[in-house]
């Protein structure tokens, strides 16, 4: 059993179970999406939610923040949004006759950047610097962000007038692209019932799990994820898969080494979610689509079938 060194009272499995149950209570009928969000969170990556409005993107981000009692901030990206609106700025204080720093929303633990493709590339770049470096430089002073800084960006695939599509180099900063999709009938019924106040018993918050986990717990889980064993055969498998994306005729831009690193980290976090301290080929395959779909440029649009073909044609390490 994995142990969190700094939080001996709560073991890994329980912590993950708590997270999983809370998020599934919030986002009904989307267990797979929740699993990927958790994997991304533990891998210290950022998520791009690419879906239609009203499917629970903001709700999910808020729920993640609430789970850890973390500081949550939301930025509604518009064309007139300035970089300082995100990073913060220095303001001259007349009383003290000094400049005082007014922190922007990036100085939070979990940031929801809603409709990120609506803002200008200048503002997007400021956010991406914060995502990549986990620090911001304002007036020559570098300010570190929270250790558990986690960005959930959303974008709307329709209504692209006046939008600034994210370039591929910047998309590579995200660990995953996820689509939540419409819930099934049972989940929709549960949503309606919850709105009327008759939430089913199974979907109410479990007893004893109402207390939020700490951000230290999140940091511990992230540290533990980084310690998960990746066998050399798994790494060779990752390399072969990455090479295959670069050589595939339907792919214009394959996985970069940075993307490969993120892929390995997300596979590690997937292993942690499965209760293992080592990565198996199934972990690599499970996170392949969300990790690759954010960074592959396919010639014929959708990348899912291409990723499937790469996974099925690349020999995975087996017990033989």
């Amino acid at each position: 059993m994995l142990k969190i060194a700094d939080a001996p009272k709560l073991d890994t499995a329980t912590a993950i179970d708590v997270l999983r149950k809370r998020l599934n209570t919030v986002l009904l009928g989307k267990e797979d999406t929740v699993e990927m969000v958790l994997a991304c969170l533990l891998a210290r990556g950022h998520i791009l939610l690419d879906d239609l409005p009203g499917l629970g993107k903001t709700t999910l981000a808020k729920a993640v923040a609430q789970c850890f009692g973390a500081k949550f901030a939301r930025v509604q990206c518009t064309p007139d949004l300035l970089p300082t609106d995100i990073t913060g700025f220095n303001l001259f204080n007349q009383k003290t006759r000094e400049f005082g720093f007014h922190a922007g929303p990036v100085f939070s633990d979990i940031l929801l950047a809603d409709e990120i493709n609506r803002t200008t590339p200048r503002t997007q770049s400021a956010l991406f610097e914060a995502m990549a470096e986990r620090q911001v430089s304002i007036d020559g002073e570098t300010r570190p962000l929270s250790k558990s800084f986690f960005v959930i960006a959303t974008q709307n695939p329709i209504d692209s007038h006046g939008a600034y599509p994210l370039p591929e180099a910047q998309l590579d900063r995200f660990a995953m692209r996820l689509a939540i999709g419409y819930p099934d009938a049972a989940a929709q019924l549960a949503i309606l019932a919850a709105d009327c106040g008759n939430r089913p018993e199974s979907q109410s918050a479990p007893v004893g799990l109402t207390e939020p986990l700490s951000t230290q717990t999140l940091a511990d889980l992230q540290h533990l994820t980084a310690c998960v064993r990746v066998d050399s055969r798994i790494q060779l498998y990752l390399i072969e898969l990455s090479d295959a994306t670069r050589k595939h005729e339907s792919i214009a831009l394959g996985v970069s080494p940075r993307g490969m690193l993120i892929w390995q980290r997300t596979a590690q976090s997937h292993a942690v979610l499965a209760g293992r301290d080592f990565v198996i080929p199934e972990d690599v395959q499970a996170v392949a689509k969300p990790v690759l779909s954010v960074r592959l440029v396919c010639r014929n649009g959708r990348c899912d079938s291409v990723i499937d073909s790469i996974l099925s044609s690349t020999k995975a390490p087996t017990y033989r």
Binding site: R233, I280, Q285
Partner: protein, 769 residues
């Protein structure tokens, strides 16, 4: 036997890779030695010994799991000693029964079973290592005593496995065992070993003279293997032409008489007596002492008739070991008169006789009026007789050839079915002539020039058509005709007449009748012993003693068959032996290959050879596919239908057959390493999926696919799949190095009960739904 609960089993006896390697090596040495022993020991005896040994081994393995540690150790030691003493005990028993084997073979067998005991029953690394050394010695000794190359694969395999065993398992341990880690034995141990050795010497000395084996042991170890240089006076000083030394070296395990000056002048009858027993009055020899340890290449019956000494020891038995067939071409090349390039076991007639004057065969005088015809094939001149359909003969035919090296005659030896011939660029038809008996010769020459090569196409007779063509050819034969015998001597005439009457039956005029005559001659008469082979005797003696040479057989067969009206002729020539020489396709024919046989006409222009002499193999006439198919159409159809039915049944029951096979191999599952057992399970389950029609797609994880194939109804199987996959993942990609007992039992459950009967279509429907 009382069942012991698994949880009470001893935990100190665990078979690891080190011990498994030693087990494999020891078993290999036993198999290698057993294979050599099977050449001169009874198979039944060997099987009995192996069965007893296997039983003792099983009992010993059972003892490793029961009782207290001390009692287990004692039991294992007792079983090991019993296993080691099994070959001497069995040998004494078999000697009472009239068989038995050599002393040194018994010792080596004891050593090999001791190695098995050490490998299987010991828990100490040092003992296991000693068993490997012992098995290595046995393997090498087996190679040493075998004359052929048959034991080389075993020793090579042993070497490979031993190398693997040493490098992979024991290398690090060997490095660690440097001198600094050696623990000196106590003085008490040294004294105990010295006392033990002294006791062994005293007991051996006191028993010397009591048992024959001890007598031989008192002279030297392995005395019957030719002796050592220190005791072999012949080897030290040289004997005659050196044949004795050569014979002792080449046939170290044989005790046949060696013809050399030393032995001819000696009062000792043979090499065996010279080196195996004390001098003095010849002792009565047991049969086993004379026949054991013969070379391992299935010696012929004549080789096993070893020399027997007479009372004085000054005379020799007449049965001698035949001259050794040399394997060097140069040794027989100088004596060759012809060289044959073609098939083995062919009879090449140098002279054919048709006239018998009642006493001997007369050479043919009249020339055949037929002139050979010349045709050009591949720009080379070939000759054939008008009646031969050259185009038919040449289809698929392979030319054979005779090369003249010292043949002082103008005759061209040929096989019975020769249809065409060709000599370099000779294109004159008058260059050849054929007499009435069918002998081909070069006209106008004293003999065929040396190094002449005559290539010839010999037509094969279709065995399937032989019966029909023979019956048609001899359709004119009267069935109730009195056999006509031509012989000058009355005794010969009477003998032939009696024989012809005896062999006469209602099948006369058919090929079966000819075959029955030849078969009866082969079975009812015998050839002379090699010592009398060259003696001259009259034909009349053949009927009295019922033995003779090939010339007697050929003459009698020719005359008897001729008496029925069959057209036969007497042939003298060479029988091409089956020996081959390295680097040469030519077979030298010497005087030793001379032979006589009859030929019979079976068609208008077709003659085939017969072989009445039992020492020579019968001519082989192939059956063409078309004839065979025609003759056996109904049987072939039935067999084909049966085979199709069986294949269909096997295909229908393929999953169950596979499951049965898994059940059979399941006892071996416990011997496999953790990784090997997982590999086996993966393979087995994959094959089950394939056989059930739901083969796992490439790179699909095993766990979800197996769950789908097994279905939800078998919850215990799904649980076993989960356990096995979890542990296998941990073993392969995690930091664990061993499987847990739970995973082992789950693997075994999957192996035995993980039956898959679902089709892929069902699985896809399930997943779709």
């Amino acid at each position: 036997m009382v069942a012991v609960p698994r949880e009470n089993w001893n935990s100190d006896f665990k078979v690891d890779r080190y011990q498994r390697g030693a087990m494999l090596l020891s078993l290999l040495s036993v198999i290698a030695l057993g294979r050599q022993r099977s050449h001169f020991e009874s198979i039944g005896g060997l099987l009995c010994e192996s069965g007893f040994a296997a039983g003792l081994l099983l009992i010993g393995l059972w003892f490793t799991r029961t009782g207290s540690p001390t009692s287990r150790s004692w039991k294992r030691t007792c079983i090991s000693v019993c296993l080691t003493l099994l070959p001497p005990t069995a040998d004494q028993f078999f000697r009472r029964m009239g068989s038995g084997t050599g002393f040194e073979i018994v010792l080596i067998a004891a050593l090999s079973w001791g190695a098995v005991a050490g490998a299987f029953l010991s828990t100490r690394r040092r003992t296991i290592g000693l068993s490997v050394i012992a098995s290595g010695f046995v393997s090498l000794f087996t190679t040493f005593i075998s004359e052929g190359n048959s034991s080389l694969p075993f020793v090579s395999l042993w070497g490979l496995i031993c190398l693997w065993w040493m490098v992979t398992d024991s290398w690090q341990r060997t490095v660690d065992c440097r001198a600094g880690f050696v623990t000196r034995r106590s003085f008490k141990d040294i004294i105990a070993v010295a006392v033990g050795c002294g006791l062994f010497v005293i007991v051996t000395w006191s028993l010397s003279g009591v048992f024959p084996a001890a007598v031989r042991a008192s002279i030297e170890w392995m005395p019957t293997s030719g002796g050592t240089g220190a005791y072999d006076s012949a080897a030290r000083s040289g004997v005659g032409s050196g044949d004795a030394v050569v014979a002792a070296r080449d046939h170290a395990m044989s005790f046949g008489a060696v013809e050399s000056d030393l032995f001819l002048d000696s009062d000792q009858p043979n090499l065996y007596d010279m080196f195996s027993d004390v001098f003095g009055e010849p002792i009565v020899k047991l049969r086993t002492e004379r026949t054991f340890a013969l070379p391992g290449q299935a010696p012929p019956e004549s080789d096993q008739r070893v020399a027997e000494s007479k009372s004085g020891g000054s005379s020799f038995a007449v049965d001698r070991r035949p001259a050794k067939q040399t394997s060097e071409l140069r040794d027989v090349d100088s004596r060759a008169v012809l060289r044959w390039i073609g098939r083995a076991h062919v009879r090449v007639a140098a002279e054919r006789f048709t006239e018998f004057d009642g006493n001997e065969w007369l050479p043919s005088t009249g020339a055949d009026s037929k002139q050979p015809q010349l045709i050009s094939i591949e720009e080379r001149p070939w000759f054939h007789y008008p009646e031969t359909d050259s185009s038919r003969v040449f289809v698929g035919a392979e030319a054979e050839a005779v090369k003249f090296t010292g043949f002082r005659s103008a005759r061209i030896p040929s096989a019975a079915g020769m249809q065409m011939w060709h000599v370099d660029r000779v294109d004159k038809t008058d260059f050849f002539a054929q007499d009435a008996a069918g002998n081909l010769s070069m006209t106008g020459r004293v003999h065929v020039p040396d190094l002449t090569v005559v290539r010839m196409i010999n037509r094969e007779v279709d065995r399937g058509e032989l019966e029909t063509s023979f019956r048609q050819f001899y359709a004119h034969l009267p069935l109730d005709r009195e056999p006509t015998i031509t012989a000058s001597e009355k005794s010969v005439r009477d003998g032939l007449t009696k024989l012809a009457a005896e062999y006469d039956d209602e099948s006369i005029g058919t090929w079966s009748h000819v075959e029955s005559v030849i078969q009866r001659l082969r079975s009812e008469y015998r050839t002379r012993t090699p010592a009398r082979a060259q003696e001259f005797s009259e034909l009349s003696e053949f009927f009295v003693t019922k033995e003779g040479n090939d010339i007697h057989f050929a003459t009698v067969a020719t005359l008897v068959l001729r008496s029925y009206g069959y057209r036969t002729r007497f042939c003298a020539g060479f029988f091409v032996p089956g020996r081959t020489f390295t680097g040469s396709e030519e077979t030298p024919l010497t005087a030793a290959d001379l032979h006589t046989w009859p030929e019979i006409q079976v068609g208008p222009h077709t003659w085939i050879e017969l072989e009445p002499c039992p020492d020579y193999p019968l001519p082989i006439h192939q059956v063409s596919w078309s004839t065979y198919l025609k003759a056996h159409a109904s049987v072939i159809c039935s067999v084909a239908l049966l085979a199709i039915g069986l294949c269909g049944l096997c295909w229908y029951l393929r999953s169950r057959i596979f499951d049965g096979s898994c059940l059979l191999i399941s006892p071996l599952f416990a011997l496999l390493s953790d990784r090997m057992s997982i590999r086996l399970i993966t393979e087995v389950m994959d094959w089950r999926c394939r056989l059930a029609g739901c083969a796992r797609p490439p790179n699909t994880p095993l766990r979800p696919w197996l769950k789908r194939c097994l279905g939800e109804s078998t919850a215990d199987m799904v649980a076993a799949v989960n356990i096995v996959c979890d542990e296998a993942d941990r073993l392969w990609f995690g930091s664990d190095s061993r499987l847990s007992h739970r995973a082992r039992s789950a693997s075994r459950t999957l192996l035995l009960r993980g039956v898959i009967r679902r089709r892929r279509s069902h699985i896809q429907t399930d997943s779709d739904s």
